[in-house]
């Protein structure tokens, strides 16, 4: 009863093409943003920022980028961690080698570098498809793992590829406390989510979806597969690269190539699949689920007061994590985003049966 579009008439094209055509959605999103920007920094404890909120924000940005490639353009990628690494190390190099480089510019340049490499590794997708492509993208993963360990120039001659940044500031404001870091990440995520949302409902987003659904048919109706696939790789690796730079600069502070290993790639793919392929909202749900789940699983024995050997607890966490993923895929193969939209459908009628 509360959530329905009755009486909200669209009298011009602008109103018809809004991002959120329903008034209740606009109010809800506005309230959420106000809450996230103004209320959370005041009330959240430091642990919550460090362990959950900041990783959640950055990883949901990366998942958003991956979702554009996998969910919207249908090109499976197992090499996301590589593009995060490229973003992080490129941003590091811009920051260190050019004196007085503004933080935001080096983060964005990190993303731009990831874009270049992403397009390069996207070229095989024009010929290789499906699972073959998925395995081929692992080439990017292992190559970057190796490159950042062995090629000293990339890491400013540091041993074993570990680098660190300190004294971050934007427009003269320092980014030191967890709350400041949180706000910085949140601003990035909000801007990129809006951009991505608009991109996927523009003509380029439609081209991606056409390629995803059937690339031969899409080519027949005049969509250039080269342009569509490479642009998806470019946009996706840009966002993933920026997320990687944020992960290194803001969340970790100092990192080495292992921070962007193949496990990170799988983790991001899990987020996208569990959240929902081809859904901006789903990326956030998936990220929340995957970030919070291990923390809860780790904490569970303590809550119940059962003492468990740490090695055993780690193995049990693995088992439960794997089982839950299989369970989710069986129960809802279209992800949490589908549950969300089902709930919204139900809400439109509630509390009436019809």
């Amino acid at each position: 009863m509360l959530y329905r579009e009755n009486g909200q008439f669209k009298t011009n094209y602008r109103a018809d093409q809004q991002v959120f055509p329903i008034l209740q959605d606009r109010i809800a999103i506005g309230a959420l943003l106000v809450f996230a920007f103004a209320v959370v920094p005041l009330i959240a404890p430091e642990y919550l920022f460090r362990a959950i909120l900041i990783p959640f924000l950055i990883l949901s940005l990366a998942a958003l980028g991956l979702n554009i490639l996998v969910g919207y353009c249908g090109q499976i990628s197992l090499g996301t961690g590589a593009f995060m690494a490229i973003g992080a190390y490129a941003a590091y190099n811009f920051q260190v080698r050019i004196p007085g480089m503004p933080l935001i510019v080096s983060l964005l340049l990190g993303g731009a570098t990831a874009t270049l490499v992403g397009v390069l590794f996207g070229i095989p997708s024009l010929r290789i498809k499906g699972l073959y492509l998925a395995v081929a993208t692992l080439a990017a993963q292992f190559f970057t793992d190796w490159a950042f360990l062995r090629i000293k120039w990339f890491t400013n001659d540091s041993a074993s590829g570990s680098v660190s940044v300190a004294g971050l500031q934007v427009f003269g404001l320092p980014i030191e406390t967890p709350a400041q870091k949180y706000l910085f990440c949140l601003a990035f995520v909000a801007v990129f989510a809006l951009l991505a949302k608009n991109l996927v409902r523009s003509h380029i987003g439609r081209e991606w979806m056409a390629i995803r659904d059937m690339d031969v048919a899409a080519a027949v109706i005049g969509i250039r597969p080269v342009y569509a696939k490479l642009s998806a790789f470019a946009v996706s690796s840009f966002i993933v690269g920026v997320a990687g730079a944020l992960w290194g600069f803001v969340h970790l502070g100092s990192w080495e190539p292992a921070a962007f290993s193949i496990d990170r790639s799988f983790q991001l793919l899990f987020m996208v699949i569990i959240g929902g392929l081809g859904s901006i909202m789903g990326s956030f749900f998936g990220a929340a689920f995957i970030v919070v789940l291990p923390i809860v699983l780790d904490a569970l024995p303590y809550w119940f007061g059962i003492p468990i050997d740490t090695a055993l607890a780690a193995h049990l966490t693995f088992m439960i994590f794997g089982a839950l993923i299989v369970f989710f895929l069986i129960v809802e193969p279209h992800g949490l985003a589908r549950l969300w939209s089902t709930a919204k459908e139900k809400l439109r009628l509630w509390p009436f049966p019809h």
Binding site: A134, L149, A217, L277, L312, A323, V326, I330
Partner: protein, 309 residues
């Protein structure tokens, strides 16, 4: 020249071991269209089971003979792998019929996590040994032709022979037995196979069991070479380029692909590696596979991918 040949033989035999793991991928993909990422975890699981049973069973039954102990442990480990195959089919795959390839891929990733955790909870997470009496001493060949001859590890040679035997046996199984024929029918077309009365569920259990058998053999060989530990499951990552290079649907492809990757890896490590700073083994296989795929997108022996609108 002698050194080159030595590297070449080393590569060929390493390649044979890769194809042993790649075989597991191909078997399952052929029969159910699932890209089984869990193959590596299955290798680890099988190797752990084998290692622990070969300790437990002789201890429990008081068997002195090492051969008998190993045989019993092998049978027990195989039984465990069949049970795993049955559980995977029952609890996971039968509920995911007709889902997209990527969903199935993710499900096998979930299974990977589960098996990694489960195996180590059940069998412990230390480093274990498998001793099936593989000969350890190297032998020298062509001593008359080259000075010093060509050094070959006997262990690798035996492993390669076992792998070749296994491949031959599987080829016979697929071509000559009625079960093998049913497997090929399912691989060709699920619905058509079902409509002429082939029970899909049972076929899948059989395929996963056969893949479990391949995993067990691979686990024993790799395990007696490297020791049974968690990193064994990472060997699967080495087998992935083999699978796509040979073609996801081709058993001979897995063998030839394995040999190409094995040789390419070893030769590149020796001859190109020093130029790039070493350690290129890890990505070279993937780049090599990628180059082959650019020419033949379905792999060397894969079925041609035909796009229909």
């Amino acid at each position: 020249m002698g050194f080159f040949l030595e590297t070449l033989f080393g590569g060929l035999m390493a390649g044979m071991l890769y194809s042993l793991i790649a075989l597991g991928f191909v078997l399952i993909f052929k029969a159910s269209g699932v890209f089984n990422f869990a193959q590596g975890a299955m290798v680890l699981f099988a190797a752990l089971a084998m290692a622990r049973f070969s300790e437990w069973i002789p201890a429990a039954l008081g068997i002195e003979s090492k051969v008998l102990g190993n045989v019993l442990a092998f049978i027990a480990a195989m039984a465990v792998m069949v049970a795993v195959a049955w559980l995977i089919e029952r609890l996971c795959l039968s509920k995911l019929v007709n889902q997209e390839a990527i969903t199935l891929l993710m499900a096998t990733l979930g299974i990977t996590y589960f098996l990694d955790g489960f195996g180590q909870t059940l069998f412990g997470s230390d480093i274990y040994k498998i001793d099936v009496g593989m000969p350890k001493d190297p032998i020298f060949l062509f001593q008359s032709t080259f000075e010093g001859g060509v050094l070959i590890s006997q262990e690798d040679l035996v492993a390669a022979l076992i792998a070749a035997l296994l491949v031959g046996a599987l080829a016979l199984f697929f071509q000559k037995t009625s079960t093998g024929r049913a497997l090929r029918a399912v691989a060709d077309d699920h619905q058509a196979a079902q409509s002429i009365g082939i029970p899909l569920n049972r076929i899948w259990v059989i395929v996963w069991s056969v893949a479990g058998f391949a995993a067990l053999v691979a686990g024993i060989i790799w395990g007696s070479k490297l020791g049974v530990q968690f990193s064994l499951s990472l060997v699967a990552l080495k087998a992935l380029p083999v699978v796509i290079l040979g073609g996801l649907t081709s058993v001979p492809g897995a063998i030839i692909g394995g040999l190409i990757i094995g040789v390419g890896e070893k030769l590149s490590e020796i001859y190109i590696g020093p130029m790039l700073g070493g350690g290129i083994e890890i990505w070279f296989a993937y780049v090599l596979a990628l180059l082959f795929l650019l020419v033949r997108p379905q792999g060397l022996f894969g079925e041609k991918i035909i796009d229909r609108v």
